[in-house]
Amino acid sequence: MKNAIEINNLCKIYKDFQLKNVSFNVPSGSIVGFIGENGAGKTTTIKLILNEMKRDGGNIKIFGMDNIKDERKIKEQIGVVFDESYFHGEFKAGDVASILKKIYTNWDDTYFNKKLQEFNIPNNKIIKEYSKGMKMKLSIASALAHHPKLLILDEATSGLDPIVRREILDIFLDFIQDENHSILFSSHITNDLEKIADYIAFIHNGKIVFEHSKDELLYNYGIIKCGKNELSELDKNDIIRIKKDQLGCEALVADKDAAKRKYPNLLIDSTSIDEIMLLYVKGEKVC
């Protein structure tokens, strides 16, 4: 199957905010990083994918099935991890299993316990006494134990120390060893996405700005840094966004090697996801 998730012209209208014709895909076997400012529409999009709220337009297919008509069937195959653990604080890990095994037909107790051991999650502690990292790992173990094909992660590594984050990223990379598995990973920690994402989808003000391969963004995109008087040298067709401040200008280009050949006397740097986001949000288009 080509795409784990296909989103077409998704719309949602609120009083102060709108999701406008959001379209993007999560190809099977890939990790798609979902980025955007707070309030840009990431969580709304995810809630709509999970049919937690009604959409106002467009359609969503998961594993080729309609996400509303085949909701039950689809959800058996999705694991979701949010930034908070929503399990009751008085529960122990075993209690979580007792509940979830009645919900998922494919719940695998042996696998769940194996993961708890691997992640060093204690059997006898109640969840409200867990560290943040432990809570997250419990959420992940619970999301994996019914053998889903798709993981949807909403800020699943926020607030975690770099060591634990790395362990968790490894868990996700492990999950994707099966090429029928896919991950949609919404995160502010662009560093994590730079490490493991295959594609990056960027949402801004309720609209998708781009969906590109991460390699293209990190290796092909570049930033021309120059003074204001050198601006006139630049071909405006090369520039995606430009930001001017007191000390100079920064122009985002899609092909830094071509730019280096075209403007050999200008400084052209490689860029990062953070910088690309910043230029899209704070920079302007060249007219």
Binding site: G29, S30, I31, L169, D170, L173, D174, I176, Q177, E179, K195, I196, A197, D198, Y199, S213, K214, D215, Y219
Partner: protein, 124 residues
Amino acid sequence: MDIIISNSSKKPIYEQITDQIKNHIIVGNLNEGDVLPSMRLLAKELHISVITTKRAYEDLECEGFIETVAGKGSYVSRKNMNLIREEQLKKAESFLESAVDTAKSGGITLNELIEMLNLIYNGE
């Protein structure tokens, strides 16, 4: 098989992987028929995207160093000995060009150079 990736190198990661695997094959760490780690496993071990490892393997396949069989994996190609020889010939030629340039600028004669080459080649 060791693969060492630099994040600060200007060379794209897929190119670093391609170069290193080529090197392993040329030096003999990897031999004809040896199976390479799967693209996904390599991606996981190196903490990079599968698209990157896929690109590296595709480039290696294009240059004839490896073959990928769908469902089975990638292995070092049987047809690549001539290619390797070609590549080594080119490299040796360019090193010799450097040696000649250096010799000429230092007033070293061709005979002296040949003598030097003999000594070095025969393990003096």
